[in-house]
Symmetry: C2
Subunit: 491 residues, 2 copies
């Protein structure tokens, strides 16, 4: 095990160096650094791959597999190393290089075609990307459905059948709820847009992060074009946000990333630099960002505590009531763009992408028919028709990178956040009473004790069983949505 750990520490050091280079590129790097940075990351990625698949690592892993009790923390490291190694070795080097090359080219083509709203210019590239995703699935292997091979990378154990089951639970109730809300007058949210002082937005974001429990001794907040969370160790978690005219972008963006960040900070320090530290899957990770962004951050109790402070920091809100503010940040509106969607319609955007990418991988939907199929589904689920492909089927970066099987983890995060929260409430009691007083520690402590401190020790479905005593269940989410929006919209 010591031999294996030495190999894992090496891979960790190279991987974390790449993460620092990437963070620096997004937060600090001057324009002139781009060319060399790409070369440096290329070399380090190659070294990381070589370290993981080296004979030394494989021998140490095989020995550890024979000797280590799978039910221990070391055993979890062994299992995770095997999973990673198998993924690295199943894909031939030539394929990996070809995918990287094609994706880089595809990204450029996508940017241009999207700007020009020219799907036909993007079509051959998109066909190539579907082909690459199919090839990758074949290399990785699957039992039932081609989708299973791809989605397992992001959510261990998930399959098309698993996602079908999840979406079947929410498809109709969400569509109905959105339609019902559409009949009611929308809350005013014009006052959320303004020429806000950046320093004050930053001050307020930092206040929220610290209040909910993000440890600033083990992390920081920076500005980047796209908000993200990364970490270089359990003790060094970096969040980014952006400060724009639409105030919720920074407030809820920061809470979202802080949720990811607190999950990472919650791993035991002694697991640092080992694969067992960190979030267990994309779905679980998203459940925590969504918990702190939506269940906590968009609750009335939260703003009962923080709204007076917001009014002090940004005095423009002194003429707006807390109730109007609360309604404005919970406005539901079917819209074209996923990344701008509200908490409720978001899952319908994901559902559409899941259905379409399954069909493309199966071959039942030809890429040339994607725009029409996309628009049809937006009409069906959201009641709106995209006026162009730019803000339609070309809006996301994912497919241009052959990234398929990833989208459903976003919906799983939303659903799981409410499922875990309903368990939390059984122990912690009246969370609204706590949040009204600005007391978040009992909430965070429960999450650390029951979830964060387990890192990746258990497989996602095992962790879910431990946490909630069963499988994924959308009912708490649906109940939460119905309760919240019935009150806000007077349904």
């Amino acid at each position: 095990m010591d031999a294996l750990k030495a190999r894992l520490f090496e891979a960790n050091a190279i991987g974390m160096a790449i993460a620092v280079l990437d963070w620096d590129q997004q937060c600090n790097m001057p324009h002139g650094g781009g060319a060399a940075r790409a070369e440096h990351v290329g070399v380090l990625s190659k070294l990381a791959h070589e370290s993981v698949v080296s004979d030394e690592t494989q021998r140490a892993l095989e020995a550890a597999e024979r000797e280590v009790d799978p039910n221990t923390v070391d055993g979890a490291c062994v299992r995770l190393t095997r999973r990673g190694l198998d993924m690295e070795t199943k894909l031939p080097g030539d394929f990996v290089a070809e995918k990287a090359r094609a994706s880089a080219q595809a990204h450029e083509t996508w940017v241009k075609a999207r700007t020009a709203d020219d799907f036909e210019a993007f079509r051959p590239t998109m066909e190539k990307m579907v082909e690459i995703a199919r090839q990758e699935a074949e290399y990785l292997g699957y039992k039932d459905h081609i989708y299973d091979a791809l989605t397992d990378k992001y959510e261990e154990g998930a399959t098309k059948k698993f996602w079908d089951g999840m979406f079947d639970q929410i498809r109709q109730p969400l569509t109905d709820l959105v339609a019902e809300i559409g009949k009611k007058p929308a809350p005013n949210d014009a006052f959320l847009t303004g020429n806000w002082d950046e320093a004050k937005q930053r001050e307020f974001s930092l206040k929220l992060m610290e209040a909910i429990g993000f440890d600033m001794e083990r992390g920081r907040l920076d500005v980047a074009a796209h908000p993200f969370c990364t970490n270089f160790s359990v003790g060094d978690v970096r969040l980014t946000t952006r400060f724009q005219e639409f105030l919720p972008t920074s407030i809820f963006g920061t809470l979202h990333e802080a949720g990811h960040g607190m999950y990472e900070q919650g791993s035991p320090m002694e697991w640092d630099r080992l694969p067992v530290a960190g979030g267990v899957s994309l779905g679980f990770h998203e459940s925590q960002s969504r918990t702190w962004e939506n269940i906590v951050g968009r609750s009335k109790a939260f703003w009962k505590f923080f709204y007076p402070q917001l009014q002090q920091t940004l005095t423009q809100f002194q003429s707006i009531s807390m109730d109007d503010f609360y309604r404005s940040v919970n406005k539901v509106e079917p819209s074209l763009i996923r990344v701008e969607a509200d908490e409720l319609t978001y899952n319908l955007h994901i559902l559409i992408r899941f259905e379409l990418e399954c069909e493309m991988l199966e071959g039942t939907l030809a890429v040339k028919d994607l725009p029409a199929a996309w628009n049809e589904k937006y009409e069906k689920y959201l009641g709106i028709t995209p006026p162009n492909d730019k803000d339609g089927c070309m809006q996301d970066v994912h497919w241009s990178a052959a990234l398929m099987g990833y989208f459903p983890t976003y919906s799983m995060g939303n659903i799981l956040s409410y499922q875990i929260w309903s368990e939390l409430e059984k122990s912690v009691g009246d969370t609204n009473a706590l949040m009204e007083k600005g007391e978040f520690k009992p909430i965070l402590d429960w999450l650390i004790d029951n979830m964060y401190q387990h890192g990746q020790r258990f497989q996602p479905q095992v962790l879910l069983q431990k946490l909630c005593g069963g499988g994924l269940d959308a009912q708490p989410y649906l109940n939460g949505m119905t309760k919240k929006y019935s009150e806000i919209y007077g349904l």
Copy 2:
């Protein structure tokens, strides 16, 4: 050569990743990231060493040595790679590890002993460090003097004899000049200390950097506890500064680091990631930081242009005349602490260290006698006696890391800056007339054309010959000092 370049690119990627990790540690890293960061840098340093000394690199280097014309750029890469490889291989792995371990421990002991002003507590550690420096010199090898082996690492081709020659030129004239100045009334500089707005200090520092020609598209300025310049490529040069109550710290600190930075930015882009890019030696590097800090930045012409802007940014200066300001930033005062010393006395601080470290390495000065010898030399050269060892022989970090042979490059920088400047003036003409108008481009262009663009292509002494048509000459520096201070002090 292509095979060698591939190896060099790998070593460069790992080395630059370490540089980014170090920069991040000094500028951004939260406290909690320290432990993992140290481990990551440790692993990467080992990988860097392995990459440099690998059989693959050695074979590629030997082949290139047979094939490549030494007078080409590729030839310079080959020569520099050989120099680096020899240094890496001459030191046994055990010795390198022992030195790193002992230095880390020595650093802690030094911090504690210095705080407690307890030289006796530091003495055994210092003895160990001298011993390590001696061992290192033996491993590296030398012809004439043990000092030669160590100093060549920082200034290729320099020897004890070379430094003796340099210091012999300046020892007496500087001591005399300092003594003469001491008889005159000191300029008032109380107004340089204040509670300056940090944002305004930053704004003014950035203005100066950009005005003298630092390319912000290929670099940036951050805040760190100790000012430094590092770079990750020719296109990405990072400076740091600090904002304190003593205003010159940020102004001249920024100009100093910008000088280092512009030298790095001046390498041809096509040499990026190869050993031939970058500054040629520590002495040459320091000559450029000193040029922009002192010859340019402390000149009257410079402030004729910038002082009105400073008065606008920091309105407290509106009641201070330009002449008083100019005299205040050129105040000469024998003092205890090297890093706070003025342009003139600085070289005497270095001279003292050079003489002492030579004697310790030779064995003519025992470590136990260091405090007395130190104080004696401060009395002799600067006319002051340190009241304690904390601000005496324990003030610098260098010796606690077995770093000997390094100090003289600081003095070489000061001397060389004036020697190069006098050549520059032959071509560029009246530099004061240019600077008064804020025109720095002709100055920077000459430096790029004659020096920066050559990177490390030529050995330091060859470059000096090309630049100035001879060896190191302290006369321009002595002339410059005499002229400036005669005017300021009315000598």
